[in-house]
Structure formats: C-alpha cells, structure tokens
C-alpha cells in the first residue's frame, strides 16, 4: 500500500511546485488570515478576562477574601482574626475593610457610594490602589479628616462627560461633606483621587480606620471583609485550607470563587461569542478550501482522467489533493502564527485602551493548537468532497473535458 502513498505525495508535490505560484500564495494567505481571525478575537476576550481578573485581585479581593459567615453582617473581633490569619503559612498580609453607606456632597451635587475604612499599612500590602493615584496621595496611616475618592466619584465639571452621577469634578484639597448611614455628617478634605478603571472601585471612597472609629464614636473591631494576600509560592487552595484549619469561621473564598455569578455569566457569554467567531472562521475556511479544490479539480478533470486511464487509483488521486490541502493549511497556519506573533508583540508594546483598562490580547498556546487542529480537520473535509466528486467521473467523460 505504501507505493500508493508515494504516488500521492509525488503528484501533490509536483502539482504544488509546478502550479501557479500566485494562486498558491493567495490560498496560503487566505488560510493564514482565517487562522489569525480565529485566534484574534478569542485572544482579546482572554485578555479582557485576564484584565478583569487582575483588577479583581488588585483592587477588590486580593488573593483570598474573607466575608462574614452566612447570616452575619460583620466579621466580629477582626483584630484577633487578622492575627490568626497572618500566622497561617502562605499568608503575606491580611487587611480588614469596613464599608459603610454614605452620601457625599460637593459643588451642590451629591453621590451615594460606599465609603470603605481601611488600615493603609495593611492595605498597601494586599491591593495596589495606592499605585493608581490619579491625583494627590494615598493614605500614609492614621489620617483624620481626609478622604480618598475614586475618579467616577470626583467626575467632571461637565456632567455629560460622566458615566455616573459625580461630584462635578471635585479636586484634591477641596472639601466635601459626607453623610454616613448612621446619621453622622462630617467634612473631609479630598486627599487623593484614584483611578483603577474598575467601575466598582472607582465609584467608591476610602477613609482610614481611625476616621471610622471617630465616626462610630468608639473602637471598631468588626469588618465587612478581610482581604488576604498570599505568597506566590503557595497554592491558593492550600492557603484557604490553612485558614479554615486555623479556625477561621467566616466565609473564605479564593478570588475566583468570590467573583459573582453575574461576572461568571459574562465570561460564559464571552465564551459563546468566542465559539461563534470560531465557527464563522471555520465556515470561511471550509468555503475557501472547497472552492480552491473544486476549481483545481475541475480544471484538472482531464488530468484526473489521464491518471486513472494509466492505472493510478482514484484514492491515490484524492489523497494527492488532500496532501495539497494539508500543505496549504500548514503554510497558512505558519503564516497565521507569524501574524499572531507580530500582533502579540505589537499589542504588548501598545496595549488596547479600553474604558476599563489597558488590554493585552492573550494568545493561549492550547487555543492555537485547538484552532489549528479544527482548521486542518474542516479543510480536509472541504477538500475531500470536491476531489471525491470529480474523481468519480468516468475516464472517458473526463478525457473529453476541455
């Protein structure tokens, strides 16, 4: 049987080598573009998911998030809990947060946002909000009478430029009035404005724990959440287990577990869009290969008949076309990989600017392999059908073809 494969390879190679170079290059370029198209949108979606995940870790949850046990509103005795958590192997630092509802007033405008109290020395170890100051400075620790606001809270003087209701472009150094949910009203100086590009984070405000205690008129030993940063060397699951084994009774979740179901649904929707995009690309590939092989085989009807007449088996001829498809797909995929590599390099240097951050497309090697495999499979099917159909023709009718 091997001699048949030899003949297929021989015919395929000669056909590619002696056929039209322009046509071959065009076909390779089309497959290359199809492959790139298959990869590009998923990579942007992957990059977008990565960006969202990173923002979640950096600004909202850190690596592990501890929330009140079910049915509880607060984490009680949080000072003791922090000491417990900090002793667990793999924990780098834990930071307690206490969120309280408030209405902020300035420039005759008001916004109702959560005001979160935190300990800056702990917070800088678990999140990176302090690195995202658009204006002013992050807390050094122990500040009183000062507040940090997110960029959407400060907003713009022109309300049409705002995504949300804002304080009309309040600036660092300005005074704002804060009416807390417990009825306390205080004036604060804006110490800084942060810009994380995470909508949730940028539409909030921060005060120090000391300021919270002043508002609450007493020591506060309860938190609404505790953020835990781990050492990179430790698996999150292992550290989480360590926290539970250390006696943490509250709800303990890794950042991935903490992502709400709404976000998970968004990611699933991205996955559906991704699949549709891949399907469309594959349809394009099928159509291109089908047309290419149909035209090629139609133009070579007489040659096919000659080959059959001199005793070349039909299967050998079909395989020679499939080998040509394989060659075109291989070259096209290589062209696509080069293009993808170029795109990756470009976007790494020049990230896509999205409203929620700088997005670098992520090219997943597994996705590259999977897409290439799909491309090959559908191309072979698309090439087989016309080759099979045209080689069915009788020798004499094929010989009569012009």
């Amino acid at each position: 049987m091997l001699e048949r494969e030899r003949v297929s390879v021989y015919l395929a190679w000669r056909s590619l080598a002696r056929g039209s170079r322009t046509s071959l290059l065009l076909n390779v370029a089309i497959i290359g573009l199809v492959f790139t198209n298959m990869i590009l949108l998923p990579s942007i979606i992957s990059g977008s998911v990565d960006l969202f995940n990173q923002q979640t870790i950096d600004y909202q949850t850190s690596d592990i998030l501890v929330r009140p046990a079910e049915g509880e509103q607060y984490i009680e005795r949080v000072g003791t809990l922090l000491e417990t958590i900090d002793r667990v192997p793999g924990v780098r630092r834990a930071s307690a947060r206490h969120a309280i509802g408030a209405t902020l007033l300035a420039r005759n405008r008001s916004v109702s946002v959560p005001v979160t109290a935190l300990n800056p020395r702990d917070e800088v170890e678990v999140t990176t909000i302090h690195e995202r100051m658009k204006d002013g400075e992050f807390f050094a620790g122990g500040e009183r009478g000062e507040i940090l606001v997110g960029q959407f809270v400060s907003g713009s003087e022109d309300a049409r430029e705002d995504l949300f209701t804002s304080l009309g472009g309040v600036r660092v150094g300005e005074r704002i009035e804060v009416a807390f949910a417990n009825g306390v009203i205080r004036d604060y100086v804006v110490k800084g404005i942060y810009e994380t590009r995470s909508y949730l984070v940028d539409y909030s405000a921060l005060i120090t724990w000391e300021e919270l205690e002043s508002v609450m008129d007493g020591q506060v030993d309860e938190a609404t959440e505790v953020l835990v940063r781990t050492d990179r060397a430790h698996e999150l699951g292992v550290v989480k287990r360590g926290l539970l084994e250390a006696g943490v009774q509250e709800e303990v979740k890794t950042w991935r577990e903490a992502i709400t179901s709404a976000v998970e649904e968004s990611i699933e929707t991205f996955g559906i869009i991704n699949s549709i995009s891949m399907l469309v690309s594959l349809v394009i590939a099928v159509v291109v290969i089908f047309i290419v092989i149909t035209i090629k085989a139609m133009n070579q009807r007489r040659q096919i008949a000659i080959l059959k007449a001199i005793g070349i088996h039909r299967g050998v001829i079909i395989r020679s076309y499939l080998l040509q498809v394989l060659a075109i797909c291989t070259l096209g995929t290589l062209v696509g990989l080069v293009a993808v590599g170029g795109i990756e390099a470009w976007f790494t240097a020049h990230p896509l600017i999205f409203p929620d951050g700088e997005l670098v497309p992520r090219f997943d090697p597994a996705a590259l392999v999977e897409n290439a495999a799909w491309l090959f499979v559908v191309s072979l099917i698309a090439g087989y059908i016309p080759a099979w159909r045209i080689t069915r023709e009788t020798v004499l009718s094929g010989m009569r073809a012009a």
Binding site: E3, R4, R6, V7, Y10, L11, R14, S15, R18, G19, R302, Q303, I306, L307, K308, A309, I310, G311, I312, H313, R314, V316, T394, V395, L396, M399
Partner: protein
Amino acid sequence: MMIRVDGLRKTYRMGNVEVRALDGVTLDVAGGEFVGITGPSGSGKSTLLHLIGLLDEPTAGSISVQGVDVLRLTDDERTHFRLTRIGYIFQDYALVPDLTALENVFLPTLARGMAEYDGLERAAALLRRVGLEERTDHLPAELSGGEQQRIAIARALVNEPALLLADEPCANLDTHASEMVLDLFARINREFGQTVLMVSHEESHQRYFTRTVRLQDGVVVDDSGRASGDGDDDQARGRGDASIYPVPFHHDHGDP
C-alpha cells in the same frame, strides 16, 4: 490468446435515440500481433479499443485479456489491470501537464511499486529508445506533438504491458512525425514481440500492420492477414533478442 472478444455490443442513448456503436463484434488477437483497426468515422473503432482497454463497459458480450475475464473485475482491479497489463496511447497524447517527460514515463513505475532509482533509469532508457534523451526535463507544453506522442508511447511501455493499445496516435501529427511514431510501433512489435492494437483510419498506415480488422457500422466486415491458429502469448515476449527494458520487473503475483 492475448485478446478474446465475443459478441461485444455497446449501445449509447442520445436522448430518445439509441445508437449502436458496436453490434456484436467477435475478435481474437494472438500475442505478438500488430493489429490495425480501421474503418470510417462512427464505425466503432475507438469504442472497441476503449472496451478492450477497460475505459468503458459494454452493453453485452465478453472480453478476456490474457485469459482474464476483465468484465468481472472490480473497479479497483480494473485500474490495477490497466497499470500492469495495458499500455494505452491516446490520440491527443494525454500526458500529465505538470510532469516533465521523464516524470510522465516514471509515474507508472512508481505506481507499480518499483524503486525510484530503477524506475527513473527505466524511464530514461525508454526515452532514449524513442529518441528523446535530450528532452527528458521538458514539460509537455514545451514539446512538439510528435515528441509528446513518443513520450506517451514510452509511458505506455514502461510497465512492460502485455498489450499496447493506440487510439489514432498519428491523428494530430504531420506526415514525418506520423512515420516516426509508426516506425516506432513497428519496431517495438518486430524486435520485442509487443502485441499492439492500433486504431487508424489512414489507408497508408496499413502497411505497418501484420493484420487489419475493418469495422463498419459496429461490426467486423473484413479481417485480413489474421494469424492462423492460436497465438502463444509468450511468443510476444520471447521473440525479440534484446529487451527494451533496461531494468527487469518483478512481476506482481497478485495480478488479477
């Protein structure tokens, strides 16, 4: 007997009209004969050759080649039979345009499973025999009609077929090229005992044939110079002193 055709009929349907291309042809061809099939246009010459060459199927009748009832072969077996036992030469050469002269002749040896080196050596030797040693690397489009037909003859011979079928091989050639081709056929037949069945409507070609079968309206009307008695198939191979083939073939035992 090399070829035994009995009661062969071929009917085509053209719309509602039934056309009888062959109407009961019976013919025996012994090994080593050079048979010319002549007759006017539409007499069924090419149809007969197509049927013997397994390129078409008859409506009725039987065909055996070297004792094999070829009509009972499967499609795959027919293809293999054409590869190993029949050399077919077409009026319009029917060379593969993407292959050079050498590659066109080499291809059937590759399909037969011959080692590449031996196949190329055999193809080159045959091209030397037909006087085209200087044109081995040329594509068919770069060659004259006579040269292309000689390549087609070399290709038809390369697998040592028992039977060489030629369908008006000189129809597209000028007189000089035609004589070269016919001389080549005659020499192959004379020196190597190759059985040749050639369709031709040229009266002048008859002097090359050892036997002429004349068809008219799908029936044999004249069969002059017929060899007496049953010819020995092996007579063909054994007659020539020298072999046309420089590299011996290991004949397939599994041939149908």
